[in-house]
Symmetry: C2
Subunit: 164 residues, 2 copies
């Protein structure tokens, strides 16, 4: 089972946007430059984040993306579900209702125990993602990023915000 690659980009993007001063925005072109990723690809994922009210966009010259909520109010689960949707990974196709042992459909009121068990395990994973916010990710980045890289990122950001 492979997670949508866009999730990795989206988390990195949100973490960068969490560094912006209030009311500043970054155009999609600048984000694509910073992450060295095709702009059309990033734009598609930013639209998904926008639809989930994780980022918002200001139109027109000098416009661009910013976080739509405070970084501490955006969880990794929000980002994952914005990109990948809310469907469970395990989908029950009601195998138990097939074959020679099947009985009338009215006898299957309670969901299948296998499905319930699989979905319960997924829920634990989602609950874990819900515990981590974009602010946590930003702070982890601040702690761990190599100082030379942090300086280069800051210089780049200052330049882009001054000369959009």
């Amino acid at each position: 089972m492979k997670m949508n690659e866009g999730i990795e980009w989206a988390i990195h993007c949100c973490s960068l946007l969490a560094h912006l001063p209030d009311d500043a925005t970054l155009p999609v072109g600048a984000l694509a430059e910073f992450f060295e990723v095709p702009q059309a690809y990033l734009a598609k994922n930013l639209q998904l984040l926008s639809r989930a009210k994780i980022v918002s966009s200001a139109k027109g010259p000098g416009g661009g993306y910013r976080l739509a909520r405070k970084a501490e109010q955006i969880s990794l689960l929000d980002v994952v579900q914005a990109i990948d949707g809310r469907d469970p990974c395990f989908r029950c196709s009601e195998i138990r209702q097939r074959g020679p042992s099947a009985v009338a459909a009215s006898n299957y009121r309670k969901p299948c125990g296998i499905a319930r068990t699989m979905l319960k395990a997924e829920k634990v994973w989602r609950d874990e993602l819900k515990k981590v916010s974009i602010l946590d990710i930003k702070e982890l980045g601040i702690q761990e990023t190599n100082p030379a890289q942090a300086r280069k990122a800051e210089d780049w950001l200052t330049h882009v915000l001054r000369f959009p």
Copy 2:
């Protein structure tokens, strides 16, 4: 993110095989009949279970599949990984090493904090799957299966084992 459909079949199959008397086996044709699924499709997944030493097969007339270990020694994680492999769902493409803030590769010794966080959340899901055995699933089935269905399944199994 969608889980391989074969996982659902594989768990149901293992749970059925856990009902067999010692040393009895079920041919793939009988399993395909019981679950009303194309035999070739089921055979492919049984091969994956066999490779993971979850089931074993007896060759020749009267041959077929049985659990290779006790049902309490097979976890749902074993089954999921047999069908879907052991790769993590989240794959880090080292986005942090791209773009204008990148520094020399030697500065990225510690894995990216975003990847670590995502993988930690997945691990919680896998640990949850590891806690549940095929015996647990079998017992849940015994508790919850409609008595008429349980009787039909038992009759079918008795017949198939007697006239393979």
